[in-house]
């Protein structure tokens, strides 16, 4: 469109002296593109620096070990941190077996028919549904119809539905990398389909599945939108003692602090953001570490 008018169409360039503009256009484009890239990456750096400047002074043991409070300097993220931890643990517990099961079904069992095509298209679509819609689903189905109320379990079920498509897609990709010859060899010595999957396909695909799951869960831990309709509370001065306890989560706590006018709470939000980013960084690093470690072992 715009780009096509940038240069005249190539018709009669003389064989010797190339038009000087041709080389310059190339250099100009590269300069523009590199500027765009550098600008983008510097926004990332700017964001991290801004949050660090606001948040690091608030980061101390008091902040990590206190419950929320009306006074910003007394407030902490203990209940939010524990809530997020429980939430991610439960989400993984629910989503991992179902996601891997669905992936096994689609890769190893389902034929190439219209039904598996529908499931496939459907999963791709679910991956694109806005997360707040999952919140509405959770509110109606888990909180109201199943009477889980505004509990950890309702939150975890909602997040599990949210991350399922990601886990399924990653697990399928991991299983697809296992060569067909391995399955054939297993069948040839008399293994059943499940035995082949259990003892040959899954062990080989496992690092990939695990990496995909951790990445999906790291998305879940940063999500606030689906938890808001569920009714994650913003003021929780206790730790959850059962899956049916009310809860808060780190992104919800951060959101709540940002919404307050006092500067002290904004700094708390920045400090909470740093903690959240560190948790995400650790999860991602863990996923990469696991992948590298197991890949070396297997190949």
């Amino acid at each position: 469109m715009v780009t096509e008018t940038k240069e005249p169409p190539l018709q009669h360039t003389c064989p010797h002296g190339k038009k000087p503009g041709r080389r310059w256009n190339n250099i100009i484009f590269q300069a523009v593109a590199i500027t765009a890239l550098v600008a983008t990456v510097s926004v990332l750096i700017l964001l991290l620096v801004d949050i660090s400047i606001d948040g690091i002074p608030r980061l101390n043991w008091t902040f990590l070990s206190h419950y929320p409070s009306r006074k910003p300097e007394m407030a902490g993220i203990l209940s939010a941190l524990v809530g997020s931890g429980c939430l991610v643990f439960l989400t993984g517990l629910i989503a991992f077996p179902i996601g891997v099961g669905a992936a096994i079904y689609l890769e190893e069992y389902a034929g190439n028919n219209w039904f598996s095509k529908i499931i496939e298209v459907n999963i791709a679509n679910l991956a694109g549904v806005p997360s707040i819609i999952y919140g509405l689903l959770g509110l109606e189905v888990f909180v109201r119809i199943m009477h889980m109320d505004r509990s950890l379990l309702a939150g975890a079920c909602t997040l599990a539905l949210l991350v399922l498509p990601m886990i399924i897609i990653a697990s399928r990709e991991a299983m697809r990398t296992v060569p067909v010859s391995i399955r054939e060899a297993s069948f040839a010595v008399g293994a059943t389909r499940w035995e082949t999957i259990r003892y040959h396909v899954l062990p080989l695909a496992f690092p990939g599945i695990l990496t995909g799951t951790i990445l999906a869960l790291s998305r879940a831990i940063g999500e606030a939108a689906p938890l808001i309709p569920i009714g994650a509370l913003t003021y929780v001065a206790f730790l959850p003692d059962s899956p049916l306890a009310p809860f808060t989560a780190l992104p919800i706590q951060i959101f709540n602090w940002i919404s307050r006018p006092q500067k002290g709470f904004a700094d708390n939000a920045a400090a909470g953001s740093i903690v959240l980013l560190v948790v995400l960084l650790l999860m991602n690093a863990g996923a990469i570490w696991l992948r590298n470690r197991y890949q070396k072992k297997l190949h």
Partner: protein
């Protein structure tokens, strides 16, 4: 794809002979098959569940509020005493923020994609791509913080009269968040363009820039469009950035420096308050959710279809 079909066809006959040999494990195999099938079909139930609850509550909503009020009124004030249920302010707010986000994400994302796919050396690619991916992985509340407390004050210095809550600042920040989606999908599409096309263009005397924009970009056009549409769909569904920084004030305006409210932010606003089940306020979030779901669903389908078309041509 080809290997995929192989693995599905060969085992069937083998498994049959095994089934005849061993009776006990036969039942176990069937049970496992059934359990895995149940996992697979859960995704269908999720979709049906989403559709079901949205349709159910939306139908209830429209029993009290007419279509004409919903699509004909230009005010959205369900939370006030004098209630109006015109969806346009929310739709307009959503579109405004989306347009700003795409104005940032599309040109920069495309530039990055062309550069990374056609110009950058492999080691530069290896460093820059993960850096861009980090942008897509930052939690949206953190972006909200950045938009409200860094970008807005910065812009207020440049643009006098800019409100503390506005569409511009969350729009720009959302654009940066979406940029990696646009750039990485576009880059994948360009990377998949066969080398022979580039070589053909070089053989005719094209420069690298001409090859990039006159050969590779048109060849990857449907893939690039797919990434763009997916970006729009993400922008429409993005919640926390706008809930934090855009102002929660439904307003029919195209002025980016005024406070506005998006559909997603409205759902957050109502969910935060104490809205009992069965009230009209409660039903509004499902009606708004329905509009949100349908619009993102259509965009996702178009995006998938365009990507499929691209794959058909080159693989």
């Amino acid at each position: 794809m080809i290997t995929d079909r192989h693995q599905k066809e060969i085992p069937h006959s083998v498994v049959h002979s095994i089934k005849q040999r061993r009776g006990g494990s036969h039942i176990k195999e069937i049970a496992i098959h059934a359990a895995l099938f149940a996992c697979g079909i859960l995704s269908i139930f999720t979709t049906l569940g989403i559709l079901g609850i949205l349709v159910y509550e939306t139908v209830q909503f429209f029993q009290e509020i007419s279509f004409l009020q919903f699509f004909g009124d230009t005010r959205w004030t369900p939370l006030f005493v004098s209630k109006h249920f015109g969806i346009w302010p929310l739709l307009c707010g959503t579109l405004l923020v989306t347009a700003i986000a795409m104005a940032v994400a599309l040109p920069i994302g495309l530039l990055c994609a062309v550069y990374l796919s056609e110009y950058a050396r492999p080691n530069v690619r290896k460093v820059v791509k993960p850096l861009l991916e980090i942008l897509a992985g930052i939690p949206t509340v953190v972006y909200g913080y950045f938009a409200l407390l860094f970008v807005t004050p910065l812009l207020q210095n440049i643009i006098p009269g800019m409100a503390g809550f506005n569409a511009l600042s969350p729009g720009i920040v959302m654009g940066i968040m979406i940029l990696p989606i646009v750039s990485s999908l576009s880059e994948d599409a360009m990377y998949a363009v066969p080398q022979s096309l580039r070589e053909g263009a070089y053989a005719l005397g094209s420069t690298k820039l001409q090859v990039s924009f006159l050969t590779v970009v048109p060849a990857a056009f449907s893939g690039i469009t797919a990434s763009f549409i997916l970006g729009v769909s993400r922008a429409i569904g993005e919640t926390m950035i706008v809930a934090i920084a855009a102002g929660l004030q439904p307003r029919l305006t195209a002025n980016p420096i005024e406070p506005i409210e998006t559909m997603t932010a409205y759902i957050v606003q109502v969910s935060l308050g104490d809205t009992p089940h069965g009230t009209i306020e409660y039903k509004t979030i499902f009606a708004v959710g329905m509009v949100l779901f349908v619009s993102t669903f259509i965009l996702n389908i178009i995006s998938q279809w365009m990507r499929g078309k691209f794959r058909e041509v080159y693989t």
